[in-house]
């Protein structure tokens, strides 16, 4: 069996945002080409002299105009036929390269949604689509998105990445709603609150909501330093204390 030559390596990125109600992912619409699906995840062939994460960051930063603070690799989609037929023709035309096979690396990234971001992305022709409204995507991008979502669920229960999706100041309820949206469950807000506080890295700002039709909630911020200290303490002892077979 001959060694594979004439192949390309690309990155495809699922960038997630939370609008207070549902989880959204950034999609771009490519020009019509035969009957190919129009909507796809942002992506690019890798350039010379850049690593894969650099390529992912390049794609996302140019699309959002903002710094990407959280980026994580998913897996590599290496099915020899994942890009073939019209899709392969599209790639060849789009990038002006003679490639026989495209291996892609999936990334997922998190960002705080805000108006400036909405403006920037829509100027670029990209859209924030709620994850439960997505039916089909180009190539195997639906599969990549599924993997990204699974990863997000798992990560969210183990590391403080939720805060990457929320504004700097947030209420406990907002945090709770994010968990509920991503994990698709209901949570008792009294116990949720206790759990969050007991971790010790939410710090109160003293500021409160205004104009809400109920007792205003206090705004909190995520205290990164306290989190790191807590983690270090945990590693010293414990460690074995969180097996989940």
């Amino acid at each position: 069996m001959p060694i594979q030559t004439n192949q390309s390596v690309s990155v495809d990125c699922a960038l997630f945002g939370f609008d207070g109600v549902s989880l959204r992912v950034l999609l771009i619409e490519r020009p019509a080409y035969n009957n190919l699906e129009r909507m796809k995840l942002p992506g690019s062939m890798i350039h010379q002299n850049e690593t894969l994460p650099q390529a992912a960051v390049r794609v996302l930063e140019s699309l959002t105009g903002m710094k990407i603070h959280y980026l994580k690799q998913l897996e590599i989609f290496s099915d020899p036929w994942r890009v073939s037929g019209d899709e392969l023709a599209w790639i060849r035309q789009r990038y002006q390269i003679q490639t026989e096979r495209v291996v892609t690396v999936g990334y997922y990234a998190l960002i705080k949604l805000d108006n400036r971001l909405y403006e920037h992305t829509s100027a670029k022709g990209a859209q924030w689509v709620s994850i439960d409204e997505i039916q089909r995507l180009a190539m195997d991008h639906k599969q990549i998105l599924s993997v990204a979502l699974g990863m997000l669920c798992r990560e969210m229960q183990q590391s403080p990445i939720a805060f990457e999706l929320l504004p700097r100041k947030f209420t406990i309820k907002e945090l709770q709603r994010l968990f509920e949206a991503v994990l698709g469950i209901e949570i008792d807000n009294r116990n949720f609150r206790k759990k969050m506080f007991s971790s010790g890295f939410l710090s109160a700002t003293g500021e409160k909501q205004t104009g809400v039709a109920h007792k205003p909630a206090e705004y909190f911020t995520f205290d990164k330093a306290a989190y790191r200290k807590a983690m270090k303490a945990k590693l010293k002892m414990g460690f074995i204390d969180n097996w989940r077979y």
Copy 2:
């Protein structure tokens, strides 16, 4: 910046085994070439029509002569200069290809060490090296190994992969020693035993050790079906109950 062409994709694999005392990894020694490091992880360029995991399995099965039951992708090592200079020359000569850049995908795999396996691997010129005896490896293979070890530690606390490293029948103490070796900690054997049993997927064989200088321990096996049933039950409810911030 031009699109990268003329690149190759390879896989490199860290195959782990446990000899009852320490964790070992399979290394191969390549022929001398200038002053390059001799020892490296097993790996290969990918062939046409094979996916990356297929390539990894091909490499490991031909080296061990055994089926690989547990294989998992690590990450992609895509530094543009990770293979350059003499190393790049070596690759070109070894595979007879004109490549400018080699992107590699790390895999880690687990196997049960036994005599048949030792024979087969040593016939192939490969060695099982204890992980704390490894100083340097070719290219960035030391880095790949580090990532693999980190992954193994994390996975071992969350899924029942320990059993991939033990013989079919094992004592609780052997299981405990494996955990201690991989995680580098001491564990109270009475609590360890309770934890293992409470999970409900160790099944007693009725057989006991013979010839040991103490009360003989019973042999157990890992009951995969029970494990899957337990997992399904867990997913139905719980879910939120294992955050670790």
